[in-house]
């Protein structure tokens, strides 16, 4: 019985894969048309089809944030996202670095809040699909991620106790509409946090456990509201998606969506460039961590990336298993089955999505490269990593069985042109659940 069902499914897949080729052939019958400009094999159509936006599943619900689908939470989150009062100098909001006019990033090599950060501001759109947040994945949910910059000394530079009181003062209605009764914070100091300055840490230690817990609760809920808003931001269709939809349907008219040079670049992308190895799926990312030997911004301070993030996410009081998570322990599968000791995590950073990539130079985790040409040149050069080992092949035997990436100048130009076809609108869509 099961074999039959498997057989039926498999046959279905075979037909789906073959169908575009068949319909392509059908053009020739009766009405002789010129051969299509772009010839793709059934295998290639299969790869292209897996990259189109229509294949993106609905954003998975986050069991650790019970409020994310609530319109009240989304509205509250949007207001918090844009509120500069939630910073040490009253001048930095989430939107300062995640600018809606720039696909929710800032175009700078490293983030600039109340100080200067060490890594590139990440785009937010589509991040609800990531099991791990930040370049090193040191947070395991969008809401826990949102709390990081709020207390980071060079980003918002504030502290949770001050933020909880700001919510009490400025957002009592919005808060209670979403999360219920606002906890009392009797005798809380103005500034206190277990992660702040020595003075803030001392003030935190002096607080009673109940007040600490209440501050943490309000702080966690701030993150949940911000995450709820962020989760409504989605990618819109690009010229690439329109082209591939046409190729899958066998609609030759869709060839107009990409220039011949862009099509050449697309061939490199899914072929000898090996880009699709990690930049896979409709978001062009495997959501995983890789060391590709990108030189550190500061040669004296190589960044261990993912390897240094494991202990942070495991011990984070705001993780999926923590007291402020709405998930059952069994739902925290990513954390439960977290890879902790793989040597390939050293110097590894998250594969970024390539949607809108052409709109957001500079590139890599600390803005090391100003142009896409420089990025591609790096992958061709495949230098040794400053920390850990690069996954890229140098062509030396015995490294990995992977082939070195060898591209001509013309192929690099075509690849850059193709990446430009991945730019599209940012949409704000109601939470899907």
């Amino acid at each position: 019985m099961r074999t039959e069902r498997l057989l039926a499914t498999t046959l279905g897949i075979v037909l789906l894969v073959i169908a575009p080729g068949v319909s392509g052939l059908a053009f020739g019958t009766g009405n002789p048309a010129p051969p299509p400009r772009d010839q793709w094999s059934a295998t290639e159509v299969g790869v292209l089809a897996s990259l189109r936006l229509s294949q993106l599943p609905p954003t998975p619900s986050d069991p650790s944030n019970a409020f994310e689908a609530s319109p009240a939470a989304i509205d509250f989150g949007r207001r918090l996202f844009n509120d500069k009062r939630f910073s040490q100098n009253q001048a930095v909001s989430c939107a300062s670095c995640h600018d809606a006019k720039k696909q929710f990033q800032d175009g700078l090599p490293v983030g600039k809040g109340v100080g200067t950060g060490a890594r590139r501001t990440m785009p937010i759109v589509g991040s609800g699909h990531s099991p791990w947040l930040f370049w090193d994945g040191r947070k395991d949910s969008l809401w826990a991620q949102a709390l990081g910059p709020l207390e980071d000394a060079v980003e918002h530079g504030g502290n949770r106790t001050r933020y909880a009181q700001l919510v009490q003062t400025h957002y009592p209605t919005a808060y209670e509409k979403t999360f219920g009764k606002m906890p009392a914070l009797p005798g809380a100091p103005v500034d206190a946090s277990p992660t702040g300055t020595p003075t803030e840490k001392a003030a935190w230690k002096a607080m009673d456990a109940g007040t600490q817990q209440n501050v943490n609760r309000v702080f966690a809920n701030l993150g949940k509201a911000i995450a709820s808003f962020e989760k409504t931001l989605a990618h819109g269709e690009t010229r690439f998606d329109q082209y591939v939809e046409g190729m899958v349907r066998g609609d030759r008219g869709a060839q107009r969506f990409l220039s011949p040079q862009e099509v050449d670049g697309l061939r490199v992308f899914i072929g000898k460039g090996q880009c699709v190895t990690c930049h896979n799926g409709p978001l062009f990312t495997d959501q995983s961590f890789h060391n590709t030997g990108v030189p550190p911004r500061d040669a004296g301070k190589p960044d261990p990336g993912r390897a240094a993030a494991i202990a942070k996410v495991q011990s984070d009081e705001f993780n999926c298993l923590g007291a402020f998570s709405d998930a059952k322990a069994a739902q925290c599968q990513e954390l439960r089955f977290l890879t902790t000791d793989d040597p390939s995590l050293v110097g590894a950073f998250k594969t970024p999505s390539l949607r809108d990539v052409a709109l957001r130079p500079p590139f890599m985790h600390a803005g090391q490269f100003a142009s896409m040409e420089e990025v591609i040149a790096h992958y061709v050069r495949a230098p040794a990593a400053a920390v850990g080992h690069t996954e890229l092949a140098h062509g030396a035997p015995g490294h990995t069985e992977r082939k070195p990436i060898r591209l001509s100048d013309q192929e690099i130009k075509a690849l850059v042109a193709f990446l430009g076809s991945l730019s599209g609108p940012v949409l704000e869509v109601a939470a899907r659940k």
Binding site: V14, A42, T277, D286, E401
Partner: protein
């Protein structure tokens, strides 16, 4: 019936395998004797292949060479993509023995299409041994 299924399956694998092709002669058998022939191990993937990046479970059956289920075994899981030089994106664990000699393997995840190795190190009263399985994760092709 089974042969038909097998040939269709290899056709699908051939059609869907992407740029970084797995070796053509890759042994994809789901039952293997362990390296020193102490056990015979069968891996049971989920009936419907999991989506890329979706955490899911497999089952592992461990038997003696004569087919007697091996109970109370401890199974360590490792693996990765030999063509890319990286390990598994998660650390899967054999979390419980469902019934005699059949173990639940939780936390499996594949982050990309292509050739993956699944390596098991089995420890039981009968001794210790290791076995490596190959699996090729195909690109999902979904109807519009």
């Amino acid at each position: 019936m089974h042969r038909l299924f097998a040939s269709i399956f290899s056709l699908v694998v051939a059609l869907l395998t992407t740029a970084c092709a797995a070796p053509a002669d890759l042994d994809l058998a789901l039952t293997h004797a362990t390296l020193e022939k102490k056990f015979v191990v069968t891996l049971q993937p989920p009936a419907t292949p999991a989506a890329i990046n979706q955490i899911h479970s497999w089952r592992i059956q461990v038997a003696s060479p004569t087919g007697v289920p091996v109970t109370h075994a401890r199974i360590a899981v490792d693996g990765g993509m030999p063509q890319h030089g990286h390990g598994l994106p998660t650390r899967p664990q054999a979390t419980q023995e469902l019934f005699d000699g059949t173990y639940l393997l939780e936390g499996m995840k594949f982050s990309m299409t292509g050739w993956w190795e699944i390596k098991l190190a089995i420890q039981s009263a009968e001794g210790s041994d290791t076995v490596t399985f190959n699996t090729v994760v195909a690109a999902p092709v979904v109807a519009r």
